[in-house]
């Protein structure tokens, strides 16, 4: 396991030495900050706007960081052939995957912390100290980001980098539309189609579960039970994805 940590730190270091991380972070901060300039709005609307844009940016740019970091973590390693010397070292393939996951999660966390702190400072400047619901929304976004990264990592163990890139973004969009999808399914007449559709939707990650910003922004509070349940949902999903990733990577020829 110590070796998994060595891999994790290397993955972390890699991200911090590449431009993608900083570019995305700066763009995110600019977007979050820009919402401040809607001061022509009434004070209340302006605050709502800051929160709306803040949450949406943290989620969206966080997802970009998660996907790109996870892509370089495993797909990049295979595509660039740095995996050959690595696999010849005394390290278990499962530890390699666990290390990569840990490393990319550190990157996602760092980025998330920067964005969130900036967001909170902005709220403080507007004399609206964040309440507990803001933190609940942030916790759920963080879990979503780690889950997005985990799935991209898992797909990397059996698919090409190009496929993975497209698939991850596809899933990001679909994962947010699941609730709409199941509503449409309710109206489908054909029961077989309905069942297939339901099975499909229950396998896909429901990213919308982690989205409570619409409520929080308008001041509706969300229970800890809801937060806890969905954190658990996220973690369970990650563990399963990780196991699948390890299974495929153990059989992967690079």
């Amino acid at each position: 396991m110590k070796k998994a940590w060595v891999i994790a730190l290397n993955t972390f270091q890699e991200s911090l030495r590449k431009k993608t991380f900083y570019v995305l972070l700066v763009v995110a901060l600019v977007v979050i900050g820009a919402s401040r300039f809607f001061s022509f709005l009434a004070a209340e609307d302006e605050l709502k706007m800051i929160k709306d844009v803040g949450f949406a940016s943290i989620e969206f740019f966080g997802a970009l960081i998660a996907i790109f970091t996870a892509l370089t973590a495993v797909s990049g390693e295979i595509e660039k052939r740095t995996i050959y010397p690595l696999l010849s070292k005394p390290i278990k393939r499962s530890h390699f995957i666990i290390g990569k996951l840990t490393g990319q999660t550190l990157v996602i966390f760092l980025n998330f912390v920067f964005m969130s702190l900036f967001f909170i400072v902005l709220l403080l400047i507007k004399k609206s100290p964040p309440d507990i619901n803001i933190f609940k929304a942030l916790i759920l976004i963080f879990i979503e980001l780690v889950l997005i990264g985990t799935i991209t990592l898992t797909v990397a163990t059996f698919a090409t980098e190009a496929f993975n890139l497209i698939f991850s973004f596809f899933l990001y969009v679909v994962g947010h539309l699941i609730s709409y999808g199941s509503q449409i399914l309710e109206r489908v007449e054909n029961t077989l189609l309905q069942r297939l559709g339901k099975a499909f939707y229950s396998i896909l990650p429901n990213y919308e579960n982690f989205n409570i910003k619409d409520k929080v922004v308008v001041g509706v509070s969300v229970s800890w039970k809801y937060v806890g349940t969905n954190v658990l949902y996220g973690i369970l999903y990650m563990v399963i994805a990780l196991l699948i990733g390890i299974y495929f990577f153990n059989k992967r020829e690079v």
């Binding site: 270091q13 010397p85 690595l86 010849s88 005394p90 020829e253 690079v254």
Partner: protein, 250 residues
Amino acid sequence: MAIIETRGLSKVYTLGKKRQVVALNDVTLNIQEGEIFGILGPNGSGKTTSLKLLLGIIFPTAGEIAIMGENQFSIAAKKNIGFLPENPYYYDYLTGPEILKFYGKLFDIPSSTIADRTEELLNLVGLYNARNLALKHYSKGMLERIGLATSLINDPKILILDEPTTGLDPIGCKETRDLLIKLNKSGKTILLSSHFLSEVERVCTRIAIFHRGYLLTTGTLTGLLEEYQAENLEDLFVKAIEKFDTAEQK
């Protein structure tokens, strides 16, 4: 006991649904401790495939591998192996010392030992002056050199090198040859693949010739020259391959 053994080793690559490539066909080989064993063969004859199989990077379709009595996935066995891949590529955002440190840690080597070896190895492969340069600024030959250094970070008993002198200048080639002989004298078993017959001729104690996935022959250079009534290694190489191809046609 042989330090590396393969029995009936075969590898079939599957490309898509129907197309298959037989890259290695029923290869049985023994490499003894203390040898410098050279694998020769035309392009696509299965040299890289067999080395990748030995390291557990790819999996055999049939056959078995034993390295120091253990299978190729054994963590214990891998502690004793240094590997230089064909056209090696490493994390290009790291410098020479950083890459050595990274691999050193994967071997659980104490930091102070890694530091000592880093200086020694960078000097050995002539990269000490480039120690602050990130690998993305390395030339092809420099990558080959840092690759050789990383393969030695664990002071391995077995060195497996896939075309170690490709991309090196003539002086680099000579230095590498001398280094291999020196490492061998200090007790390391070396398995290398190469296209350079003169190099193999000068350093290897025993050779194997691969062709289209088949192991044509193994033996000492003098033994094989006699067997095939060849004048030199090039002549032997051509004769062995011709003999196989004509036998195949019949």
